[in-house]
């Protein structure tokens, strides 16, 4: 992308930007029967590194047993070997390979690791700021969305509807809202 601006040109300073967990979330949505099912992971962590050339790297981690759903038995099912297998693979990670900024738009490519399996993912979103908060800290905000095929991570549980269609879709929409504070 020849007209892609560096972080520095967007006014984002080099250094480490740490997650403000209170104002951030990461989660997913997947079509289930007639609607969709959402969940988030908390706590989680993310760090944005901007080097002196303006190149940006984003890394994040969450724990499978941090999944937040409405029912404890559903949570137990999601943590079982049939889904995330939290005992054997407790950690979910993301590491960017490229992070492009163009105006307020961002395009990120990286590797998402779930259940011990790494798959390339493409995410897109926006970047807001920088602004200075009431405590004098510089802040940016990154939103990201993307989709993955859960089967690629070995998450292939399903149950057929009476129609014969599967109840749970394979395509999962990922979303993240990252409030980041300059260290």
């Amino acid at each position: 992308m020849s007209n892609t601006l560096t972080a520095a040109q967007e006014g984002i300073q080099a250094g480490t930007w740490a997650l403000d967990p209170v104002h951030s979330h990461v989660g997913f949505s997947v079509d289930y029967m007639a609607g969709s099912f959402q969940a988030t992971f908390a706590p989680f962590d993310a760090t944005l590194e901007v080097d002196s050339s303006g190149a940006v790297g984003l890394a994040g981690t969450a724990r499978a047993d941090g999944i937040k759903v409405q029912d404890e038995n559903l949570a137990a099912h999601l943590l079982s070997p049939e889904f995330f297998d939290a005992e054997q693979t407790p950690e979910l990670t993301f590491a960017s390979r490229s992070f492009q900024i163009e105006g307020k738009d961002v395009a990120v490519e990286g590797d998402l690791t779930i259940k011990g399996i790494s798959q390339p993912v493409r995410l897109s979103g926006t970047i807001g700021g920088p602004v200075v908060d009431p405590y004098g800290r510089e802040r940016i905000n990154v939103t990201l969305q993307g989709t993955v095929d859960r089967g690629g991570f070995g998450l292939d549980w399903n149950v057929p509807l009476p129609s014969g269609e599967p109840a749970l879709a394979n395509e999962v929409a990922l979303s993240a809202e990252l409030a980041l504070i300059k260290g």
């Binding site: 404890e72 038995n73 949570a75 137990a76 099912h77 079982s80 070997p81 049939e82 005992e87 054997q88």
Partner: protein, 185 residues
């Protein structure tokens, strides 16, 4: 390594119970397989009973599962699925769901039948049930069809290739136990 063996059959001369005895005889060094004999005593599952202390046979089953490193099931097949008494015992064992002793427990399923399919449908159903309970289900199984012709006069598994398959199941099961131990270490 201790493997608890659960037969889904109550019949004294059950081929499935004999299959578990054959597994015990074939167990590799360091693996001890102990068969549970309490299935008949497990009462029908009833949520109303859950407000009280678990019935003694249920408490025993939960304790034996918790104390075992893995569980090996052998199921007969009735009307294409697992016998009711086995599902009933699993319904007891699986509660409360979040902390049930089968969670993350390596489990394997084998089966025998007098028909040709070796309880394949029941085995598949049992694996699905165990996965839903949260167990770590080994996909490999053994289907002993035409069971009377595969066994010796004492009921032991005589067919060499089926014996090899049974050993492979035990190897997979003990491998899953060791993988868990590595994570815990």
């Amino acid at each position: 390594m201790r493997i608890l063996a659960i037969s889904g059959s109550l019949r004294e001369e059950s081929f499935n119970s004999r299959l578990l005895d054959s597994a015990a005889a074939l167990a590799p060094a360091g693996v001890e397989i102990e068969r549970w004999h309490g299935l008949r005593a497990v009462p029908p599952f009833d949520e109303d009973l859950e407000v009280h202390e678990a019935p003694a046979p249920v408490a025993e089953l939960r304790r034996l599962i918790a104390d075992a490193d893995a569980v090996l099931f052998s199921t007969p097949e009735y009307n294409g699925s697992v016998p009711g008494q086995l599902k009933n015992a699993l319904d007891w064992a699986s509660r409360p769901h979040r902390t049930n002793p089968l969670r993350n427990k390596p489990v394997a399923v084998v089966g025998a039948s007098t028909g040709g399919f070796g309880a394949l449908s029941a085995q598949a159903d049992l694996r699905r049930i165990l996965a839903r309970i949260g167990a770590r289900v080994i996909e490999r199984g053994v289907a002993v069809g035409h069971a009377p012709s595969q066994c010796d006069e004492d009921g032991g598994l005589a067919n060499e290739s089926l014996r090899d398959e049974l050993v492979a199941v035990l190897d997979a099961l003990s491998g899953a136990v060791r993988a868990r131990e590595l994570i815990a270490a």
